[in-house]
Amino acid sequence: MYTVTKNTRLISYALMLVGLIATIFGFVNDAHRAWPSLMVNNYFFLGISAFAIFFIALQYASEAAWATPFKRVAEGITSYFIVGGIIMLFIIFAGKMHWNHIWHWMADGIMDPNDEHYDAIIAGKEGYLNFPFFFLRAVAYILGWWYAAKRLIALSRREDTEGGLKSYKASITTSVIFIVFFGYTSSMMSWDWIMSIDTHWFSTLFGWFVFSSMGVTGFTMIAMIAIFLKRKGYLEQVNENHIHDLGKWIFAFSILWTYMWFSQFMLIWYSNIPEEVTYYMARWDNYNALFWITSIINFIFPLLILMSRDSKRNFGYVMTVGVIVLIGHWCNVFLLIEPGVMKDHWHIGFTEIGMFAGFLGLFLFIVNKALTKAPLFVKNHPFADESVHHHI
């Protein structure tokens, strides 16, 4: 059984304290800036934990063995999901109450032809972008994913005590249904929560782009926590072969992210249609350096550092790339959300970084706590033995 050391706990408390101060400071100082910062940081960790659910389901649906030794790490990460989900629902509710102005289409009178704020394009989207349906969808995503996570974890715990193949088979069924559900809802989630910030604009591959970013950060977080536990002397079954495969995933998803990023960018840049190109003009004009640096570090670092076999098997290299990639994808989420809300008045200062620290602390605290609840290595899993002898 894993026990959280005093230092680890103190670090997560300290981070949470910094986050709390930053949140209070942010909302007192400039609430208009603090809300999107809350959204960015909350979404970032929400994406990681949602991806961890998908990761577990993926291993069941494909009946893969290799991830079994650190399955409990992914299970631990999913426990954060509901916290992020509730904060997300709160942000959406606050948008309706006009405490924040993240979603432009929630403004009063924007869909009323007799109002001075009337916007014909946004009014045309009323069938999909109206608050009751929007809120209901958000609840459906969060409850649906959370239920799948709960059920998969419960089945895994039952397997530990009861044994047999019953739990495993039930997990496969749950996973397959969940993956289909997640395939639709993860795309819809990205349209709802992120794409509708820039209400006029739309992109058909947006869902995959957001998903690939979730994937990179999700795999990275699983790898980093597994290495962290390994260095603490736990997870003796995990060796460089498992980290090698996780490294491949980080590498592959980074390439996928770049592919999506560029596919979206180049088609819009090339066709140069005014209603599409405004999205990139906002980023190009006001976020120029951040925009290019983000796309380059998220591509070049994983590509060059994780390309060789030896570096994927080296814990230090994977950790280094992990830190770079997490920062890079945080900037990516920042660029997804902030330009539509803050326009050219954006900052990365104490509010943003402090709130990131706060969410990181909260995330680590919850995940660490969840990891202590069950043995880190699964018992009675049909692939437990095979996965220990995983060799590539």
């Binding site: 560029f262 180049m266 840049w269 090339y270 140069n272 390309m307 060799h391």
Partner: protein, 173 residues
């Protein structure tokens, strides 16, 4: 005593792998092993060096990438700038996004094709090449270990002991 070549034939890849380790621990060098499919861990058991094909692939990819950059620059900017869809054609970096698919494709083309050619060349696989396998059953369901030695008795016994189902001994002419 003349030099002989001993062929030990196995039915199962796990037995072959164990036998491999046993033979190598006796300081007998194995000349070659023939199997119907790739056996996981066999290269390690035989003590073969890791393949450097990946390094070659990286170099080929880099060549393809560099060539594509030069090619797009020469054709589209230097030699004959054209106005295509109003895209800037006077400086390479301004028009670069349009060339990325070409650079990507050329990188993949070079890496993939040259890697396959290198592999075929290193494995001496050409059209019309005779098979070097001493026993055609290795393409079906048998595994064959080839050892050259003066003392065929000792080797045969060792192979038998470690699970070979059949031993063939041949004189080297």
């Amino acid at each position: 005593m003349s030099k002989k070549v001993i062929y030990g034939i196995f039915d199962d890849e796990e037995v072959l792998l164990d036998s491999n380790k046993e033979v190598r621990s006796e300081d007998i060098s194995i000349k070659e092993v023939y199997t119907p499919f790739p056996v996981h861990g066999l290269d390690h058991a035989l003590g073969l060096e890791r393949t450097r094909l990946a390094i070659a692939a990286f170099i080929y990819g880099a060549i393809g990438c560099a060539l594509a950059i030069w090619m797009t620059y020469y054709i589209m900017i230097l030699d004959w700038p054209q106005n295509i869809g109003g895209k800037p054609s006077f400086a390479y970096y301004l028009n670069m996004p349009a060339f990325v698919p070409i650079i990507f494709e050329m990188t993949v083309l070079f890496a993939a094709h040259l890697m396959v050619i290198t592999y075929l060349f290193k494995s001496k696989l050409f059209p019309g090449q005779e098979s070097s396998s001493p026993d055609p059953r290795t393409t079906d369901d048998k595994f064959l270990m080839e050892i050259e030695s003066d003392d065929d008795k000792k080797i045969s016994d060792l192979l038998k002991k470690t699970g070979a189902t059949e031993i063939n001994v041949k004189d080297i002419a």
